[in-house]
């Protein structure tokens, strides 16, 4: 650890110059990987972030760092026979998770497909905001599938993205170097990159944040769906589940046999996207009727 500190000191002094043109403070620059932080480090990081956000957005944030709940493994179900493709989940997700409005970042993409086809290449991503459902079409919302065998985690060169004990794949935005290898590896196109400084109107900020989830991000890092870690670790449903007007979205603890998701798997025929890639998504699509 001492050697580490020493080398870090050396690196840091070299970096101060480089940083002057950059948006990072020296504390932030030297901050450790989240999983290697001590209690004090975490407290320091929390205070620094809260202060930084107050300066930037003029409000007090509630920054959580809750660890995974014991005996919990999240899974998600999406009822394709109910989904109408209204994109309410997308906007709820953007609101809840402080996604950049300009440039636009959306973690959920709703694809519209012709009845009878499951060819993603034939899907419409940019269908108009008309009345839905549209006859002759069905829709599939796609977001991070929280794979059990995540290719994105495997390829990350710095371990900046990993799988938590409750199954959520998270990103440490302060550790990601922005190489975008995970984006190339993701078969579900679930990761987004902050090409520019993200911008969110102050009155649309959600101040209830989690370190590994919806805290405001910086330029040059990758982000993704975290099953609303800031909500789910407090026992709440993700925002997309609550927003869905037709109740197509199911969420719960798969280790609990009484949970909705366990019941979905027990009583419905489910499938997982691109099962042939053996990514083992924790995201199940099913048809209730």
């Amino acid at each position: 650890m001492d050697r580490r500190k020493f080398i870090k000191g050396a690196v840091s002094s070299l970096a101060v110059l480089a940083l002057s043109g950059c948006d990072q403070t020296i504390e932030e620059f030297l901050q450790n990987h989240f999983l290697e932080m001590s209690k004090d480090d975490m407290e320091a990081a929390r205070n620094r972030l809260i202060k930084q956000y107050r300066e930037k957005f003029g409000m007090d944030f509630k920054l959580g760092m809750e660890p995974a709940l014991p005996e919990v493994l999240y899974s998600y179900g999406l009822d394709l026979s109910r989904c109408i493709g209204c994109r309410r989940c997308v906007s709820a997700c953007v609101q809840e998770n402080n996604q950049s409005r300009k440039p636009q970042i959306e973690w959920i993409r709703v694809l519209r497909m012709k009845n009878g086809s499951l060819d993603l290449e034939e899907s419409e991503h940019y269908y108009e905001a008309e009345m839905v459902p549209k006859e002759g079409y069905y829709t599939i919302p796609i977001q991070c599938q929280q794979c059990e065998n995540p290719p994105c985690v495997k390829v990350c060169p710095t371990k900046a993205t990993w799988q938590e004990p409750d199954g959520i794949v998270v990103v440490d935005y302060n550790w990601c170097i922005g190489c975008r290898y995970c984006m190339a590896a993701c078969p579900y196109w679930a990761r987004r990159f902050n090409f520019a400084e993200p911008s969110i109107p102050k009155d649309e900020i959600n101040p209830n944040i989690h370190y590994l989830g919806n805290r405001p991000r910086m330029r040059g890092v990758v982000e993704k769906c975290t099953f609303c870690i800031q909500r789910t670790r407090k026992g709440r449903y993700p925002a997309c589940v609550e927003a869905c007007p037709v109740g197509a979205r199911k969420f719960g603890n798969i280790l609990d046999p009484e949970s909705e998701i366990s019941k979905v798997i027990e009583t419905k025929r489910v499938f997982r996207l691109k099962a042939e890639l053996n990514t083992q998504p924790r995201f199940y699509y099913f048809f209730s009727i």
């Binding site: 709940l69 009822d79 109408i84 636009q104 008309e130 789910t232 037709v246 949970s259």
Partner: protein, 226 residues
């Protein structure tokens, strides 16, 4: 989604016109049967607000928010008074001028032309009011067995026909979920989302499509696509 309930004006008196829209003979017979049984079942429970009949289903409690009807027309018996059946009419006692309008409920299926005209009945073809609403005690709904149930338990009524969906609803698969995945499940009644008189969802306007990948990017002139 707030349901598509029409706002129904509360009125002081009622009077219904006659005519049924879907005069299906079989269903007519069926309805008559139901109506014949009704007084018996009613007699059993009349006059008390005892909980529903025992049984696994009835005993099972699902915590639901108050039915939407509680915010609008309820209590139904403000108008549909039991005493209009001649037990002891408050109105008659007061011998108000409305007394002459008071009639016994007419069990004949028909289109309502005076009251509840904003209810667009678009459920199954053969359905009409008294398939679900109790004839004599309008604060209650009525199962096919004749059992009276409160509006809080309306899922049992819906579940009579929609059995597989009822099964899904009970285990949390059917229906919108809000609140906590952990701890006690919060249920919504069928009627919180579906208008029971016209249960099919209406179309919704979709929200805006994603912007072009260049939206908000440096030095790119965004051509608005309309």
């Amino acid at each position: 989604m707030k349901s598509t309930w029409g706002v129904i004006a509360t009125s002081t008196a009622e009077k219904e016109g006659a005519m049924i829209r879907y005069p299906s003979t079989i269903m007519g017979v069926f309805l008559l049967l139901v109506l014949c049984i009704a007084p018996k079942g009613m007699a059993e429970t009349a006059g008390n607000d005892k909980p529903d009949k025992q049984g696994a289903e009835a005993a099972q409690e699902y915590s639901v928010p108050p039915p939407l009807v509680y915010q609008s027309l309820y209590p139904c018996q403000a108008c549909h008074r039991r005493d209009t059946r001649g037990v002891s009419s408050q109105l008659e006692k007061e011998s108000g001028f409305l007394g002459k309008y008071i009639r016994k409920p007419d069990p004949q299926p028909r289109i309502l032309i005076k009251m509840h005209r904003n209810i667009n009945l678009n459920h199954a073809e053969w359905m009409w009011c008294l398939n679900c609403h109790d004839t004599d005690e309008r604060n209650y709904l009525r199962l096919i067995t004749g059992e009276k149930i409160s509006f809080e338990k309306s899922y049992r009524l819906c579940g009579q026909c929609h059995g597989s969906i009822f099964r899904d609803w009970k285990i949390g698969i059917h229906g919108r979920r809000v609140g906590n995945w952990k701890g006690k499940k919060l249920y919504l009644l069928c009627s919180h989302c579906h208008d029971p008189h016209s249960p099919q969802f209406r179309k919704l306007p979709a929200e805006d499509p994603p912007r072009s990948p260049n939206y908000g990017r440096w030095g790119v002139i965004e051509h608005e696509q309309e």
